[in-house]
Amino acid sequence: MKNWLIRIGFFVLLIFIWEVVVRLEIWPSYIFPSFTSVMTSTWHGFSDGSYPLAILVSLRRLAMGYGISLLLGITLGLFVGRIPIVQKTVGSVILGLQALPSVCWLPLALLWFGLSEKAIIFVVIMGAVLSISLSTADGIHNTPPLFLQAAKTMGAAGFQLYSRVILPAALPSIVSGMKLGWSFAWRSLMAGELLYYGGMASLGHLLTMGRELNDMAQVISVMLIIVLIGLLVDFLVFAPVESRIRERWGLETSR
């Protein structure tokens, strides 16, 4: 509780300093807008419907890209984690590709998928799928041998070992991969949308528009919204799931 107070107090102080600096008029307002003008811009964006629409467009792309990433990443991770030859070959390719920022796929994606939002979704997938599959592979590779022996001695075999032991045992790793994948997906989406319009007004597009119109208040208000969405999903979805799983799997004592 006390931590919350300190945090809120800090933000209030930050906004106060921001407002004071703006009122000193060191920089023109199109370079450094005030907190109040950012809030006004946010209000306008929501009341004229452009923000909700942009949020929906971006979240829809994210959902598609992230959904496909989960399917691909977990499947890929299963093979990489379980089959040594796949780990040595495909695994090392995945590891190598991680060095490439996912937005670098955009030129290629535009060529492959044409001028459509498929290109953006592809960039999102390339951003998320690698970390999801690596974490999954890691979790699966590290299934405690004792769990497997216990399951075998109780008559589990073949597919049952996967569905009832290996996957559940890897769940903490898979979830942390999902969390990491989510944040990569979100970044990749914004990078993609900034560089390419994709036919619909998205959050990234609102940023570009703000810059073209010299509307820094809008740029900053959209930035705040991007941060907020990222934090909300982390806070409402991943944090509770992760801490619950870690507790139950005995990876940490309850806080």
Partner: protein, 264 residues
């Protein structure tokens, strides 16, 4: 004969073509319903022997017969209990106990009946909804026991299941183990390095020698049950055996020393 182990040998290969014989030419028979303790110093291959009987590892030579059938892999008629409880943390106590039945496709209703029956036997009925991180070490091992018993195996293989528990819990489980064995009539092979534990539990105690494991001696324990680890008669009976085992431990240590000297 329920179980027949015939000239079993197991050799572990290490790197640079070095190998350690873990078991050499072990043979023994177990009758149905017997409680056998395998006793030996650490590193004598007694755990390996249980893993071989459970079908989790393959022998280099020799055969294991259960009901005159050679075993080829793991099977539900021989369930192994480990030193660690090895419970699945993602399942609650009931689902853990039901694991084997579930894998075998036993109908849900029959599963529940069996699970409750064996949870009652180990005295954990009221913890059926609990998750493993909420249980103590002794409770976890009881769940592991119920989980194995629920499959109603012909042979229960126990690999030092009480070694990690505190003395009081272990004493309690010794008593419970004897009751459960008398109730179920299961054939039990129990591995331990604790001489007294072996004599508390076993009808017969098979003494294995140090590396490589060989069957050295066999003792019968005919003291009345339930036995307790501090019974006077038991302590006396154990004394003789201790001498034998001490020689073995010394021999094992001597071998280690020789090995180190060679390495230098």
């Amino acid at each position: 004969m329920k179980l027949s182990v015939q000239s079993l040998t197991k050799i572990f290969l290490h790197s640079h073509r070095e190998s350690t014989p873990a078991l050499r030419n072990i043979s023994f028979d177990v009758k149905a319903g017997e409680f056998i303790c395998l006793l030996g110093p650490s590193g004598c291959g007694k755990s390996t022997l249980l893993h071989l009987i459970a079908g989790l590892e393959k022998a280099d030579s020799g055969r294991i017969l259960v009901d005159n059938q050679e075993i080829t892999g793991p099977g539900r008629n021989r369930v192994l209990i480990f030193q660690e409880p090895a419970l699945f943390p993602w399942l609650n106590v009931m689902d853990n106990v039901a694991f084997g039945l579930n894998c075998a496709g036993v109908p849900k209703k029959d599963q529940t009946k069996k699970v409750l029956e064996y949870l009652r036997m180990v005295g954990l009925s009221s913890f059926r909804e609990a998750y493993t991180h909420e249980l103590s070490g002794g409770m976890k091992q009881r769940v592991a026991l119920a989980r194995a018993l629920a499959l109603e195996p012909d042979i229960l293989l126990m690999d030092e299941p009480f070694a990690a528990l505190d003395a009081q819990t272990r004493d309690m489980l010794h008593t419970e183990m004897q009751e459960i064995w008398q109730k179920t009539g299961t054939t039990i092979l129990f591995v331990t390095h604790n001489v007294r534990e072996a004599f508390v539990l076993g009808d017969r105690v098979l003494l294995l020698s140090a590396r490589p494991g060989r069957l050295k001696k066999e003792f019968r324990c005919v003291l009345p049950r339930p036995r307790h680890i501090e019974d006077f008669a038991l302590v006396e009976a154990v004394r003789e055996v201790l001498e034998d085992l001490r020689e073995e431990v010394l021999a094992a240590n001597q071998k280690d020393l020789d090995h180190e000297e060679l390495a230098d």
